[in-house]
């Protein structure tokens, strides 16, 4: 049976599979770190400024439409067939969900709560740190969750340019027309995505402010 063969194939090469997992996680990690570092501040900016919002959010939406595979191939002349080219394509993929969610999160904080905070004598910085951020956090994490799942799935594209990751099983399975090899890649990616979903979902629930 194909599933049994897939399991045997995976069991026969544990170091290779582990390395592929590590490479895949590295792609996800890099894309998310850059995404969060860039988009959370940007999201805060766009929620306060109309011009920033118009330009940046529209730019993000425009870039989102470009297929990741196209960005990948377009970056080859500049970065070669390397980790950097794949990481670039995946980072671009991760930016829009985090940006848009952060923007929405900060916009939808009720004005009365902020007014009450100022009324209590808090400075801007204190309001941001103790009131706005905790309230925005669940929605931001939801955005990160979306970005994570998209990046985990799309990181399989890295294998097209020989940059590794779990996608190698998919390209190899296709080249050899062997579904069991393909499944090793597909199931691994699915498991990774499920784990990320559970972890981030739990985190989101954890930071939700008490009613």
């Amino acid at each position: 049976m194909v599933l049994v063969n897939a399991f045997q194939y995976a069991a026969a090469r544990p170091e290779e599979l582990l390395r592929a997992f590590e490479q895949h996680l590295l792609f996800v990690g890099v894309a998310l770190c850059i995404g969060i570092a860039l988009c959370v501040p940007l999201g805060m900016l766009t929620s306060r400024s109309q011009t920033a919002s118009l330009t940046i959010i529209n730019a993000a939406n425009a870039v989102r439409v470009i297929p990741s595979l196209a960005i990948l191939f377009l970056s080859i002349p500049y970065f070669g067939l390397s980790f950097a080219a794949a990481a670039l394509a995946l980072t671009v993929l991760a930016l829009p969900p985090i940006l848009i969610n952060t923007d929405a999160a900060f916009r939808t904080i009720p004005a009365e709560i902020k007014e009450a905070a100022y009324g209590m004598g808090m400075t801007s910085r204190q309001v941001l740190r103790r009131v706005e951020f905790p309230l925005a956090l669940p929605v931001i994490i939801a955005g990160i969750r979306t970005a994570t799942l998209e990046v985990i799935a799309s990181a399989t594209l890295a294998a097209f340019i020989g940059a590794g990751g779990l996608g190698v099983y998919i390209t190899r399975g296709f080249a050899l027309f062997d579904n069991s090899i393909l499944l090793v890649g597909a199931i691994s990616v699915a498991l990774l995505a499920l784990t990320a979903e559970l972890v981030l979902g739990g985190l989101e629930r954890l930071v939700r402010p008490p009613r």
Binding site: L81, F160, F174, A175
Partner: protein, 304 residues
Amino acid sequence: MINRKYIVRWTLSAAIGLTLLSVVVACGGLGGQPKPIRVGSKDFTEEFIVGNMYALLLEANGIPVERKLDLGGTPVLQQALLSDQVDVYPEYTGTGLLTVLKLPSSTDRQQVYNTVKEEYKKQFNLVWLDPAPMNDTQALAMKKDVAAKLGIKTISDMAAQASNLTMIGPPEFEQREDGLPGIQKAYGNFQLKQYIPVDPGLRYQGLVNGQADVVVAFSTDGEIAAYDLVVLQDDKGLFPPYQIAPVVRQQALDANPKIAEVLNKLAPLLDDATMQRLNNEVSGKKREPADVAKEFLQQKGLIK
């Protein structure tokens, strides 16, 4: 009034209507013109060119054609033939012997051709038409300066320094019998520093920008001349001859016996020099494979 009876009646009539429609469409398709011949090809330049040639030749001789080019590697095409998705595609005698039939290698051209012809008919009911004189063997190539610096002229030389070398090639090569495993068996179980599996179209990029030292080349690739590469000598005689020939489903030949006659006219015209030139037109001069194929056939008077 929209009540349950109304919904049931509507769904039933829609279902009947759709069924009738699909029956009519299916009959229309079957009863009408003759079934087109599906010409497939693998995913690299030479296959695009020869696949287009087959398609153009068949069409010029009144046989309708459906093109299914650039499908993937050898296993994909073999499976496509067996599962009646494709009727003919260009295959290499050596590849048929080693990768599909998994029989031991041989350097005798006639013997290899006879073996694949016989076994394909016996095992798969597939027919090998006439082979072309060209030999597009798998080869390992390096940049001239890199090879000179490391003193590598033959594959044995490369095997000796393998642990410092990175090889780039199609994913298929890493697993097929006449690929890396075969080379390792014949040249002493060496371990490469790294093997980078990429889409065949990206191989030479990786070599040229220095990410890999050795590239899995096909001996009629246009890039060998274009980038002034040196092909490592197969000093242990591992690779069999790889002559290109159409592999056709018996059923397609029975329905259209003219296919054999038409495609066999092309075979004697494809020699090494011609193939290299045509490949270079596409990969070096960036022309469309279909245009190059058409131009060649017109020059040779096979089509108008």
